[in-house]
Structures are given as structure tokens and as C-alpha cells.
Assembly symmetry: C2
Homo-oligomer: 390 residues x 2
Amino acid sequence: MTASGTPVTSASDMAEPADTVRVPVALGERSYDILIGRGVLGEAGALIARRIPGCRAAIVTDSTVGRHHLETLESSLAEAGIDCSAIVVSPGEGSKNFATFEQVVDAVIAGRFERGDAIVALGGGVVGDLAGFVAGVVRRGMHFVQIPTSLLAQVDSSVGGKTGINVSHGKNLVGVFHQPDLVLADTGVLDTLSERHFRAGYAEVVKYGLINDADFFVWLEENWRDVFAGGPARTHAIATSCRSKAAIVARDERESGERALLNLGHTFGHALEAATGYGDRLVHGEAISIGMVLAHDFSVRMNLASKDDADRVRAHFAGVGLPTTLAEIPGDLPDADGLMTLISQDKKVSRGSLTFILTHGIGKAFIAKDVVPDAVRDFLAEAKAAGART
Amino acid sequence: MTASGTPVTSASDMAEPADTVRVPVALGERSYDILIGRGVLGEAGALIARRIPGCRAAIVTDSTVGRHHLETLESSLAEAGIDCSAIVVSPGEGSKNFATFEQVVDAVIAGRFERGDAIVALGGGVVGDLAGFVAGVVRRGMHFVQIPTSLLAQVDSSVGGKTGINVSHGKNLVGVFHQPDLVLADTGVLDTLSERHFRAGYAEVVKYGLINDADFFVWLEENWRDVFAGGPARTHAIATSCRSKAAIVARDERESGERALLNLGHTFGHALEAATGYGDRLVHGEAISIGMVLAHDFSVRMNLASKDDADRVRAHFAGVGLPTTLAEIPGDLPDADGLMTLISQDKKVSRGSLTFILTHGIGKAFIAKDVVPDAVRDFLAEAKAAGART
Ligand SMILES: NC(=O)c1ccc[n+]([C@@H]2O[C@H](COP(=O)([O-])OP(=O)(O)OC[C@H]3O[C@@H](n4cnc5c(N)ncnc54)[C@H](O)[C@@H]3O)[C@@H](O)[C@H]2O)c1
Ligand SMILES: NC(=O)c1ccc[n+]([C@@H]2O[C@H](COP(=O)([O-])OP(=O)(O)OC[C@H]3O[C@@H](n4cnc5c(N)ncnc54)[C@H](O)[C@@H]3O)[C@@H](O)[C@H]2O)c1
Ligand SMILES: [Zn+2]
Ligand SMILES: [Zn+2]
């Protein structure tokens, strides 16, 4: 693709490399496209220039991602005549805090970026959430481009407009909804991602099959090795995931209903992350791998789903090398009451009653309100005991 | 008014004291009412309970306003069965900073307020801007009630959804658009406001006449003493101002066009505030009083407006005791070049070109793009010299 002269802002006129898949996110005047394919990072400049003519760009990245991919982005922007500067934060969840947020805000303002300019997030979910929040608040909202570089970010955090940081009381409690103008998911940049983080992101891919697309789950059971290897299967898995999330977000942008389905496995998962300190002991995708298995097992226990389905879910996660039991988490865990306390502190608790995403089987997740806390507690006590016995 | 049993959320069903004026702000699904009148603070509990059934309330106030009016609000909330707690910040512009923002966010989250709960801003524009920003970002958006207690806040900052804080590079550069669910302007609480701040807020009232309502300006010329004294004239002036701002905001919520008219006198005014350190030397309303006079004088200079109109504007501001010349600002001011630098740093500068609100006469303000900086510079040099001669 070459950058053509006339700036064209309409998403539908946007040109892209031939083998790129385009997933539109339909949100009225906030609609945008996700472009997925090998090499889109090298086209970022031209694509951004078309979508946001005349903008300057403040790139936010972390030092790890920056080392691998910042130069490619900067040259592409330079080629397209986009003036840019880069703001580099430390890698890891720790950067989603108030201090870093304030630093990035200050750097953007010191760089004299205006409302018509763009914040470009080049990184995983951490960079995307942080940079998106900055884009949402500097001058009460700047343009925002997501260039997700982790699998998790490509299939989940870069789509849907949720941004934010953590506070001492909990994760993602402060932020805004701020939709990007464009999302560029280069499947090739995932080649530099650690296998552990690729696998963790893959848990979110499987989630879309489990929520409402049993066929996709079956396809993943058959093709997951090709997804890990790269190539067209990877692009297909990412595009299917984005399409699935985009459809849910389009129907419920502000999470007043259906969007909660995306939390399948996350109530358990968040409690496990909190229990392990949001660190290397258990990364998010691992936590929700266990969480999704628990959600299926609990649904079986409630006579909602068949044991066969739950076993198949566990087998697939275990097959790709993801943890599926509490026993696999290194170090000590709180007891069932301790986990319940963490669950009730999770933000998905609405006015005191427990809301869970449960399932009638693979591809049949649903929002269950008023789940009885004692049933969850007993279930967790057994899950812990099972771990202790092995 | 007594709190009736059934929660009614529709704005049009809302009951209020008989002599209360209701100004609707039409913003689609974000529409809300402004209720203006003596004593509405005492009805806050019932009114909030109707609008946001079942909510808890985190009150944000400053220590001065809190001393005078917090108890009335707390009893009213208690009567309506609304559980609340108060977060008290220091009075003054200094509280619109990152540190206080973070403290208030933390206090709200520590108080376990959820998305369905409300942040209630009880105070002037400082408290409203700060608390509104907090409401906009905690859990990605909570309910928000404005109880403006300064005249400026009642006629300007509480209406329209702009929230934010200052950073070292400039004022209001960080924030969100977050519309309130309800605005309660008790004209009686203004009795405890200092005369200086009342007068400063009055400058914004006059602004609405100058923008597009010559009749209102004439009415103010005749009735301003009654507005200062309180009573129905005060309510009328506040309601007219709110109606005027609401109409402009409804047509241009995100300030992509017409809303810029509200900046009449503000480009000059902001430069003067920056020059005097945003403090007691010159408060905002005083700065824009001078700014509006300068905008009229400059329009005369550009052959856009008649000298008669400009003189009338100056006479009215001077008559109520507001400053109208650079010479009245205590202490030293930068020279014309220094003021120009401050003007070009103001956020209304778009991509390098100067945008000013100029006027064809009283009630006939318009957005002038590409004003020639040198013309402004020369004009300011003369305005300064005129001051030096007196
Ligand atoms: N906004 C949302 O809707 C949403 C949804 C899900 C998760 N999240 C958030 O996403 C975050 C997790 O995202 P994540 O897993 O991407 O974490 P991350 O951003 O920390 O990335 C994981 C690690 O991989 C590195 N990395 C990323 N891309 C790389 C690449 N191409 N090559 C080499 N290294 C690379 C990073 O430096 C980091 O060390 C969490 O903070 C979570 O809250 C947000
Ligand atoms: N959001 C917007 O659209 C918008 C518009 C205009 C101005 N603003 C902002 O508003 C702020 C200025 O507002 P302000 O003039 O109300 O300042 P303020 O909030 O500092 O109030 C002025 C002073 O009056 C005191 N006070 C307020 N109400 C009182 C009462 N009833 N009795 C006794 N004392 C009282 C306060 O404690 C303070 O000391 C600025 O920060 C400005 O940026 C915002
Ligand atoms: Zn997740
Ligand atoms: Zn003003």
C-alpha cells in the first residue's frame, strides 16, 4: 500500500494491505475499524494520516515493546509526515497507577499536543489502558489510536473503549470510556511476545467461543497450534475474537447489560489475581483460564451445564499449557472465606448482590444475578480441598 | 414540598417548591433539569432521591462552603433516607490539582461508592469542576449532582458538563465532559458569598446579554441592584443565564462550534489571570469583566461595533463595581508581548491561528477565526499605555 495524497477520513475508504482483515466496530459517530494482519504496523503512518488528517502523534509505549517495535512505528509516521514524540513507561501492571498517569498527562501537555492530535498506544493492555485514559482526559478528549502488541490487547483490551488505571483499593476503578479512532493489530509483532503472555492472551480468545460461539471453540480445539505458530490461523482467531467483542460492545457500549458476558471467568479470575498480588505468580490470562474452568464447574454443580462440556473446556486449556486448577498456582492462597471476601470486593458486585457469568454449556454463557454466596463459598472450599489432596 | 413515596425518575415529573424555576437542559439521554430558587438546598434529599432512586451520596465541598451549608444538605439527605459522607477540600483554585483529585478519588472508592451512587458537589466552580471530574472517572462514571453555591457556579460552571483540573502548564487542561443528573441552584446560599465573588459571578451573567440577548442586557442595566439584593430579580437573572447557556450547550455539547461564544472576554481574561497568578489579585469574573470590555473595544477598533455599545458595556461593569481597565489590576503586568505569549498559550488557540470572540455590538457576539496577532498586540500595547498615563 502506498499513502495516497488526498486525506480520506471515512473508515470505509481506508486502504490496507491485501491480506489484512478489517473488523468494523459500529458505535454510531464513534465507529471505527480494527485492521488485523501481518505488517500493519509498517503502514501505521499512512493509515493514521488518512483517519486523522493533519494530526501530530504522542506515542505511549513501554520499554520492552519500544525496544522491539518503536522504530518501525516512528519511521512509518515520519514517512507519512506525522510529527511524533514517544513517551516510554516501565513495563508491567505497576504503570497503571496515578503517578505514571500524571507523568504521561504532563508529557503530552508539555509536548503541546492539542485536541486534534492523537495519542498512539503501542503496547499491551497496560499501555493501552493507561494511554487511553490519558487520551480521554487531556483537553477533555484527544484522538486515540490503539496499536496493541500483546495477544490479550489485540483480542480484548484494545477493543471497546474501556480505559483506566488501578488504585490501592482495586484494579481499573478509575478511568473513562474513550473509543479509539483506529485499532491496528499487527499479528507479526506477537512474534516477540513471550510464550507465557501469548498463552495468557489465548485464554481470552477461547473465551469468545465459550460465551456464544461453540463453532469457534471447536475450530480452536482443532487449530490452536496454527494460531500459536502464526500465519492465517492466527489472523482468523484474532479477527473472530474482535468481531465477537465488537458485536457485544456495539449492543451495550456502557456495560449496562450484555457486555457483562465478557466477564466470563473473570469474577473468579480477579479474586485469584488479587490473592496473588497481580504479578508474575499468575498473569491475567492464567487467572481467567482457571476462572473459566471454575465457572463451568460451578455451572455443572448448579445443574445448569453438562459435565462433558466442563471437562472439554478444562481439557482445552490444559492442552495449550494454561493452568486450570487452584493447585497449579504457586504459593499459598487464602481459604474459601478469604476468596469470597475478594470476590465481593470485585467491582462486578452490584449493590451487595453477587452477579456471576454462568453457562448452560459451551457457547451458552449468561448473566446470573443473585447467585447465592454460600453456594460459591462451598464450591471454592471443595476446589481448594481438591488441590490440597493432589 | 414533601418527599412522595414512589421514586419518579423522569425529570418532568419532578416536584419542587412553588416559586422554583426549572430550566431543562436538552441533551438527549443526558438531559437534566436545573432548579433555581430560594430554599432548594433544603429539598435536595427529596429531589435527588427522585432522580436517582436508591443512591448513596458522596458530598464534595470546601471548608468555607461546608461551614455555612453542609449541615442543611446532610439533614435533607438524611430525611430522604440517603446515606452520605462528606469529603472536604481546601477552598480556592489550588484544590483543582492532581493531588487533591487523587485524594477525592481515593476517598470515594474507600467509601465503597458504586456506579449507581452519586457525587454531590456543594460549592463554587472549583468544587464543581473537581467533583465532576471525579464523578466522571470513578468506575468510569458515577451519577453527579451539582449544588452550585457561588453565583459564577450557578450561572456558568455547573451547567454544561465541563469538568476538570489544572496542570502546571495551564488551567482546565485535564478533565472530561460529564453531565450532571441534576443541578440545584439555591439563590439563598448566595447570601453568605462574599460581595467580591458575587460581583465576579455577575460578570458572567452580563456575558449572556452581551453574547446574544440585548434585551437581557437592558434588563440588567435597570435591575442589577435587585439582582444583588436577592429576591425574584436574582432568580430571574440566574434562570435567564442558565437558559442561555443551556441552549448553547444543547446545540454544541462538545464545543466544536457555537459553544466558543461562551468565551467572550475569556481570551483576554485568561491571559490576565495567568499574568496575575490565578489568585486574589484578580479573580476570574474580574478578569473577564476587563476581558469583555477589551473585546468590545477591540471590535470597535476593527470597525465591527459602535463605540456607543462599547462605552455602555464599560459603564455597566464599572457601575456595579467591576474593574474594566488594565490599570485597575494591582501590581505589575507583563508588556503587550508578554500578554500575547500568554494569549497564544491559551487553549482556545487552534493549530497556531488566533480565534477570538468579537462582536458587532451588544448581543451580537461572533466567533472570529484568524484574528491577526499583530493587531491584538498593538491594541494591548495602547491599552497598557492608557493605564500607565492615568
Ligand atoms: N480495557 C479493557 O477492556 C481491558 C480488557 C482486558 C484487560 N485489560 C487490561 O490489560 C492489561 C493486561 O494486558 P497485557 O496482558 O497485554 O499486559 P502488558 O501490557 O503488561 O503486556 C504483557 C507483557 O508483555 C510485554 N509485551 C507486550 N507486547 C509485546 C511484544 N509484542 N513483544 C514483546 N513484549 C511485549 C509487555 O512489555 C509486558 O511486559 C491489564 O492491566 C488489564 O486490566 C483491559
Ligand atoms: N466547568 C465550567 O464550565 C466552568 C465555567 C466557568 C468557570 N469554571 C471554573 O470555576 C472556578 C471558579 O468558580 P468560583 O468563582 O465559584 O470559585 P470558588 O469555587 O473558588 O468559589 C469562590 C470562593 O467563594 C467561596 N464560596 C462559594 N460559595 C460560597 C457561599 N455560598 N458562601 C460563602 N462562600 C462561598 C469558596 O469557598 C471560594 O473561597 C474556576 O476554577 C473556573 O475554572 C468552570
Ligand atoms: Zn480478561
Ligand atoms: Zn468564565
